[in-house]
């Protein structure tokens, strides 16, 4: 599946905040061979994910390279209201990262 950029969605569902994210990242295991060169593509994957609501951490995760490419993550924060700021940050094994942020609808 090709996605051009990471996406995050947060909406109120039955009183809770449902968060869905799709993060653009190759999540290379280190075993895949580049079809053009025949060489293995180095391992390159998201290691840590932190989720926050209004700046307060609500969940964190540690991942291996076996989480799928362009990883999907869905979870639910208790309660919440429209306008809450939901943030998902990730950092990969190369030290790169991204912050996804949205307001709850």
């Amino acid at each position: 599946m090709a996605i051009s950029r990471s996406k995050i969605l947060a909406r109120l569902t039955a009183g809770d905040t449902t968060v869905k994210t799709l993060i653009r990242h190759p999540m290379e295991t280190g075993n895949r061979k580049d079809p053009r060169t025949g060489l293995k593509v180095p391992r390159h994957f998201i290691q840590e994910v932190t989720c926050e609501r209004n700046g307060k951490p609500v969940m964190t995760a540690v991942w291996s390279w076996a989480v799928s490419r362009n990883p999907y993550l869905a979870f639910q924060i208790k309660g919440g209201q429209r306008g809450d700021r939901v943030t998902v940050r990730w950092r990969d094994n190369k030290g790169a990262g991204e912050t996804l942020e949205t307001r709850v609808r």
Binding site: M1, R5, S6, I8, D16, T29, N31, R32, Q47, E48, T50, C51, E52, R53, K56, P57, V58, M59, T60, A61, V62, W63, S64, W65, A66, V67, S68, R69, P71, Y72, L73, A74, F75, Q76, I77, K78, R89, R91, G95, A96, G97, E98, T99, L100, E101, T102, R103
Partner: protein, 153 residues
């Protein structure tokens, strides 16, 4: 409104490191550093022990583990772990027959509902195993997934 910022290197690490001292994130040993040794283990039992220590794990029907019976594409198998227990602070997902069975471990604060959904790579015919912690005790559930096209090579 959506905003996305691209942070590189030290700034991103600082953002994540800033969340840790809040004392809300457990287990500490998982968050103090990315648990490389646990991720490097090649058997389910070894990766479980490396991540959680020498703990007793009981099967529990309170864990609703959702995964397809048959996965056409082993590169992306959707797995949902939901736990019908209070006080769940950890959900960990393994794929038993993967070269490296430990896939993902989530640390939950009391602010989140006890379920997560993600997509993982699986190979061959394997059990996906969820191990959760609540009240200091560990519970597990497993589900057989048959993959018709593997994703670990």
């Amino acid at each position: 409104m959506k905003r996305r910022l691209f942070l590189r290197g030290a700034m991103t690490c600082a953002a994540i490191a800033a969340a840790v001292p809040a004392g809300l994130l457990v287990p500490r040993r998982v968050l103090a550093a990315w648990p490389g040794q646990a991720f490097a283990q090649t058997s389910f039992e070894q990766s479980l022990a490396a991540l959680l220590g020498d703990v007793q794990v009981s099967r529990s029907g309170a864990i609703r583990l959702t995964a397809p019976d048959l996965a056409e594409n082993g590169a992306t198998v959707e797995v949902r772990v939901a736990v019908d227990l209070d006080g769940v602070d950890s959900i960990t997902i393994f794929s038993e027959k993967n070269p490296f069975p430990l896939i993902a471990s989530f640390s939950l604060t009391p602010d989140v509902r006890s379920h997560v959904t993600t997509r993982i790579k699986m190979t061959g015919v394997s059990d996906v195993i969820a191990v959760v912690r609540t009240d200091g005790r560990y519970y597990s559930a497993r589900r057989r997934v048959k993959v018709t096209a593997g994703a670990c090579n």
